[in-house]
């Protein structure tokens, strides 16, 4: 085998061009004679479109064309990529608003002009007359009319098992909570962008600026525009952050493609930040009414959760993914004998929602862990003990939960939750720290410690294909339909390829996100790349190694079993005789018109389930209502760490985003549905001042039995439990169990909580 790249924190292959300013992000792509698209967006939250007057704009110099819905009637609404629950279809979004506008920011018209500045000038001259309709702004309010014979509650997601009602009847006690998570989102530093061009010579439509799921988007664009998928190609360049929201198919992507076809000129669209905060997917907003039936010792007998998911104005590509995951992942690491969840998908007159890093889990972990803390308070045991009494034991693995999500049955593949809890408590010196904080509280400080546990999911299938070729020069090219959103997937796949094949990882080139290079690709979401694409890479590399050894054995007049490949060199295991470079094998094969190339295909219908916990220590400022994080610890079992440095990077970055959602970030609206947070002065993302050093305990106690390397995903562990841990720590700081019921815990909300105490 190779030098052992798996498990080492080798530097990233991605870094150099990014550090030199030679990245190719969407806005960096331009083509001669391109038109610039600017979107005219609704300034009303809900209303009938009475007229759109674009005459003045159309007459401006440099304006090529202006489209409204009338110009794109043949383009169907954008379909669901995931979780296409029946009943959601009438709620899909069309690329331009037709008859009604349903949120501030909805595309109403598009301008095509010779420069971005001219397009923006023209957009300001378009007058959209709207007759206002009543707005729905809360998912908890009674469903209203969405359209004739359609209400704003298209679907209720129902999941469960066991006899919940019987459990509540015989329970020793019942704990009941109402908890809310605020509306916020991924907000990558690069805004969205798309550049389309039509190559008439090859009858090929091309789109640059693709991300996350280029193959699915290629197929959809082809369908929406009535073309064969083979006549559309998408190209992913550098992607400035994903986090769930970026790379989904949005109206603007379809519009640039339609325009490039119609005008036979390249069309470029780059979103500005205000548009991004108005128009790219929001996420997270839910209210849960949850009850637990418990026995005398605080053991859970049943959980019953009724929750309201604020979907915003339309159901976009994610379908019912977020509420589905919230309902399915809520039980977490605990034994819940009977369970019932009802997730009400509710449309509101706000920006449509989609996924955001740890979708459904940031929310349900907050809710579940608040519930555990409330149970502890009810039976008067501490918050660690209540968890110990309810955790699923390692002997119960694999653990069939009795629920399904995203088309898979949930079976926790491996895990030792109690062991990780012990390690984390030791890592933070839990009892000692608690004693110190108690002393500080006695001296008047408001300091507290809180913990939250979770089960993650990763490695969503159904399949991935990888093709690896060795060139006569010795260069190794791995082609995958997966995508890079900046997470470091090139390095990780190169490490897996290098170890399996027996080469240096730095010689491995990863090609991703190019639909003309490989016929299928799952893409980058759901912490799936290391698991799915990683295993496909391992399979391809193993097949390639076998082929190389077979050919080399013929050339070296020995048997494959007598040979080894290390650092790209094929030698006899007994170190006698000549050796050859792996590229020489490819060269020898090329003389017979053969290539040293192999494919790996990995198909799997179950996800893998990493797990972890967060511990927060913080101080509340009674004057300002501010929160300062003093210590933050994440313990996480990854199964098998391919590159610990990158995993820790994922975790710390996730914690920062989680802290944003727990304390600072929220898309607020006034009573008319006017968004109040449309710039970075009002939408507060954490800076270097707010993010503490994060202590990380990364363990490999429970490798996945479902793939040979034992891989699990790393993308979402950092974000998952931040809201829950921060809430618990604030409760502790204020010595008010159950005080935090709503995220984010803004200074205003925290001051209101403190006033309640007096």
């Amino acid at each position: 085998m190779g030098k052992g790249f798996i498990g080492r924190s080798v530097p990233r292959l991605e870094d150099r061009p990014l550090l030199e300013g030679r990245g190719r992000f969407a806005a960096d792509i331009s083509f001669p004679d391109q038109l610039h698209m600017r979107v005219v967006r609704s300034s009303h939250a809900h209303g009938k479109i009475m007229s759109i007057d674009a005459d003045a704009a159309r007459a401006m110099p440099g304006v090529h064309a202006i489209w409204t819905a009338q110009n794109v009637t043949e383009i169907p609404p954008i379909d669901f990529r995931l979780t296409p629950v029946k009943g959601l279809e009438p709620y899909r979004q069309r690329v331009l608003a037709t008859e009604r506008v349903r949120y501030v920011g909805e595309p109403v018209a598009v301008i095509f002009a010779e420069s971005a500045y001219l397009a923006e000038d023209a957009a300001e001259q378009v007058v959209v007359e709207v007759e206002e309709l009543p707005v729905v702004l809360r998912a908890t309010q009674k469903p209203a009319e969405f359209a004739p014979s359609l209400t704003t509650e298209p679907v209720v997601i129902r999941k469960g098992y066991g006899d919940v009602d019987a459990a509540f009847k015989t329970a020793h006690g019942v704990v009941e909570l109402e908890l809310s998570i605020g509306r916020h989102s991924g907000v990558p530093m690069e805004t969205r962008g798309a550049i389309a061009r039509y190559d008439a010579a090859r009858d090929m439509l091309e789109m640059y600026g693709a991300a996350k799921v280029p193959h699915w988007n290629r197929d959809q664009i082809a369908r929406l525009l009535g073309r064969a998928p083979a006549s559309v190609n998408l190209f992913e360049g550098h992607v400035g952050g994903g986090f769930g929201i970026r790379g989904e198919l949005y109206p603007e992507d379809v519009l640039v493609c339609a325009a490039a076809l119609r005008f036979k000129r390249p069309v470029k669209w780059i979103e500005d930040r205000r548009e991004h905060l108005l128009a790219a997917n929001h996420s997270r907003q839910q209210t849960h009414r949850i009850r637990a039936a418990i026995d005398r010792a605080g053991r859970i007998l049943a959980i019953d959760d009724d929750f309201f998911h604020d979907q915003g104005a339309y159901v976009r590509t994610h379908g019912a993914t977020v509420p589905d995951l919230a309902a399915a992942m809520l039980p977490g690491p605990y034994r819940v004998p009977a369970y019932r969840a009802a997730g009400h998908i509710r449309l509101t007159n706000k920006t449509p929602g989609g996924t955001y890093r740890a979708p459904g889990r940031f929310e349900s972990t907050f809710v579940r862990e608040r519930l555990l803390d409330a149970i502890a308070a009810k039976v008067k045991i501490d918050t660690v003990e209540v968890r110990r009494r309810n955790l699923i034991a390692s002997a119960e693995m694999p653990y069939t939960l009795g629920l399904d999500t995203l088309g898979t049955k949930i079976v926790y593949d491996s895990g030792d939750y109690a062991r990780l809890l012990d390690k984390a408590l030791a890592g933070i010196s839990w009892e000692k720290t608690q004693a110190q904080l108690k002393k500080r509280r006695a001296a008047g400080e408001r300091v507290g410690l809180g913990l939250a546990m979770f089960v993650e999911k990763s490695g969503l299938g159904p399949s991935d294909l990888v093709r690896i070729a060795v060139e006569p020069s010795g260069e190794i090219e791995v082609v995958t339909g997966s995508a890079s959103v900046g997470q470091g997937m090139e390095t990780v796949l190169a490490q897996i390829c290098a170890d399996t094949l027996g080469v240096d990882y730095a010689r491995v080139r990863i090609i991703h996100g190019q639909t003309d290079r490989i016929e299928q690709g799952g893409g980058a979401y759901a912490s799936r790349v290391t698991v799915m694409t990683g295993e496909a890479t391992r399979r391809a590399a193993a097949a390639l190694r076998e082929m190389a050894l077979n050919v080399a054995a013929g050339l070296m007049q020995t048997t494959p079993a007598a040979l080894d490949i290390a650092n790209g060199e094929i030698t006899r295991k007994d170190r006698t005789g000549a050796s050859m470079q792996i590229g020489d094998v490819a060269l020898a094969m090329s003389k017979n018109s053969e290539r040293l190339i192999a494919e790996g295909f990995y198909e799997y219908s179950h996800m893998v389930y990493p797990y972890g916990l967060h511990i927060a220590q913080l101080r509340v400022d009674a004057e300002t209502g501010g929160v300062a994080i003093e210590r933050y610890l994440v313990a996480y079992d990854i199964g098998r760490a391919v590159n610990p440095m990158l995993i820790e990077g994922q975790i710390v970055g996730g914690v920062a985003q989680g802290l944003g959602g727990a304390l600072y970030e929220e898309f607020l609206y006034d009573d008319n549905g006017e968004p109040l947070c449309v710039n970075f002065a009002d939408y507060l993302m954490p800076t270097a001042n707010e993010i503490p050093r994060v202590e990380i305990i990364l363990t490999e106690d429970a490798p996945s039995p479902l793939n040979p390397l034992g891989l699990k995903g790393a993308g979402e562990a950092g974000a998952n439990a931040v809201g829950a841990a921060i809430a618990a720590a604030i409760d502790d700081a204020l010595q008010m169990p159950g005080a935090v019921t709503q995220l984010p815990v803004s200074p205003q909300r925290l001051k209101a909580i403190m006033q309640k105490k007096v």
Binding site: E20, G21, G186, P188, T191, G488
Partner: protein, 160 residues
């Protein structure tokens, strides 16, 4: 607004003769008119700092400056940091400390940190943190950026 003035922007020692409207931002001029796309635009209202460049020795938000205001001044962008194939200590430190993930905010952080450390090589850790808190990153959680800048600061001080 469409009347253009002819100006020369000096970017990384090279002159670019361009014609710009008075309202054209320096960021757009650097990227679109001079073809230096390493400077990124993240918010266009001066908060995120992705577009930070060094103008006459001082880090500035190029989205908040008009191109005409930078005429005749010495502009440095991320493309000018490395000497040929040899990375600047700040670039190397970002690589060694995993100070970047998607890399979109990275040019802004590099120019901010280099600009400040060239002016104030002995800046305290606390003040340095305050400076770094003026740019936004969404991937890293900042800790590795801080580590990288501190490591590069030590190296830059040693090289004096």
């Amino acid at each position: 607004m469409t009347e253009k003035s002819n100006i020369t922007l000096n970017i990384n020692g090279r002159n670019h003769a361009i014609g710009v409207e008075p309202r054209r931002t320096l960021a757009d001029a650097i990227r679109e008119d001079c073809g230096q796309t390493g400077t990124h635009i993240g918010c266009e209202h001066g908060v995120c700092g992705a577009c930070t460049v060094i103008v006459d020795g001082e880090p500035v938000r190029s989205c908040l400056m008009f191109a005409v205001q930078a005429a005749g001044k010495k502009i440095r962008t991320v493309e000018g940091l490395a000497k040929g194939d040899e990375l600047h200590p700040m670039q190397r430190a970002f690589m060694e400390h995993h100070g970047l993930q998607c890399g979109f905010c990275t040019p802004g952080f590099l120019m901010l940190a280099v600009g400040v450390l060239e002016r104030e090589p002995d800046i305290s850790n606390e003040d340095l943190l305050d400076v770094l808190a003026s740019n936004l990153c969404r991937c890293t959680g900042y800790q590795n950026i801080i580590k990288a800048v501190r490591a590069a600061a030590a190296e830059m001080r040693g090289a004096r």
